[in-house]
Subunit: 216 residues, 2 copies
């Protein structure tokens, strides 16, 4: 497999496809060890083909806080930027779900961007979506209590069966809080029948959780 097997790259012209075949493609398993560290130098774009990456910061106190996820078809696009200024990555990145990731070196990305409207489109779209998500997170941080943010997290990650497979520690990492606080909040949600708690996962009763979220 090469990058050229995946849309939208499969749609590009022969010349672009030749460029793309230079790109390395790697499979990464889930791991707490960061793939990219804050301050690391980046000189290209990472494209997620399958799986999910998590971008997060670390507070001085050692808490993690998720900033956003990168899902299939999306990109860490700092390539263009890093060709001008010598940009260093502003956060940590880890593998959230086993992922296939392609790396497009800066010069290649730049050529593709100049040649292919599809790539311009992809880049701008990815960046715009990211801006919207980050703005939404900032707003949520100002507008919501931790309880409400936890409820949002659970609603967002619940499968069709209402199951959210995360330990409380992982939830705390997403929220930038601590395990004990999450336990306390989950306790409250259990008390009002919005979720049930188990080792390694919780089960969400969506309607009840929506209701509970309002009154937190």
């Amino acid at each position: 497999m090469t990058l050229t097997d995946y849309p939208p790259f499969s749609l590009l012209g022969a010349r672009s496809q030749a460029l793309l075949r230079q790109c390395s493609l790697q499979r990464h398993e889930v791991s707490p060890a960061p793939l990219l560290g804050k301050g690391q130098n980046i000189s290209g774009a990472y494209v997620v083909l399958s799986g999910c990456l998590r971008v997060y910061t670390l507070t001085p106190a050692g808490h993690e806080a998720t900033q956003y996820f990168i899902r299939p078809g999306e990109t860490c696009v700092f390539a263009l930027n890093s060709l001008f200024n010598d940009v260093r990555y502003p956060a940590w990145v880890a593998v959230e779900e086993a992922a296939e990731i392609a790396f497009i070196p800066g010069p290649v990305f730049r050529s593709l961007f100049a040649l292919e409207p599809v790539m311009q489109d992809l880049t701008v779209r990815t960046l715009s979506v990211l801006v919207f998500r980050l703005m939404a997170m900032l707003e949520e941080m100002h507008a919501c209590t931790l309880g409400q943010r936890l409820a949002n997290l659970l609603l967002l990650h619940a499968g069709a069966d209402g199951r959210v497979s995360m330990t409380q520690q992982v939830m705390a990492n997403h929220l930038g809080s601590s395990r004990e606080v999450v336990a306390r909040l989950i306790g409250a949600l259990v008390a009002c029948g919005a979720v049930s708690s188990h080792r390694g996962y919780v089960c969400v009763r969506q309607a009840a959780l929506l209701a509970a979220r309002s009154g937190m």
Copy 2:
């Protein structure tokens, strides 16, 4: 004056300049009334030529919280996005310093983007910078206390003479907090000699403030 008088637009070719002459150009004075409201439909790009715009959210409790500023040469680029999805603006925008603003309608922006590498560059750069700023703010919100964020705000807005011309209410709006809390924090900074407080402004002693920030 038209948009074509300002770089980088002045560098564009004749055909692009013809397009740009269709764009309206308006001067706006400082005003608390929002220029753009959350949820409003946008169908183009706003380019700030001089002055400064402020992008902020409102919490249910009625607090404002600044998300970022738009300074000369920068753009609210949601044009491309809004041609695909019918995007609504995710926050409020107000005039922070008297500003000249050009509006480039969506279709015009799209043509320019397709024609002119300079515009592609400008767009991607603006978006990347915005992503970095938003990530930095999210990180700050997780990592810093309100006192530290206030110190950062003051350091960032201090003139060469150390003067920061803002009322405490305005500072509170930037931070998403309330006037009383800001007063309390400024009181602490005054007590340790980091700033002096006056009606409508504070004077920063930079070195002392940097030191004080660590121990908040």
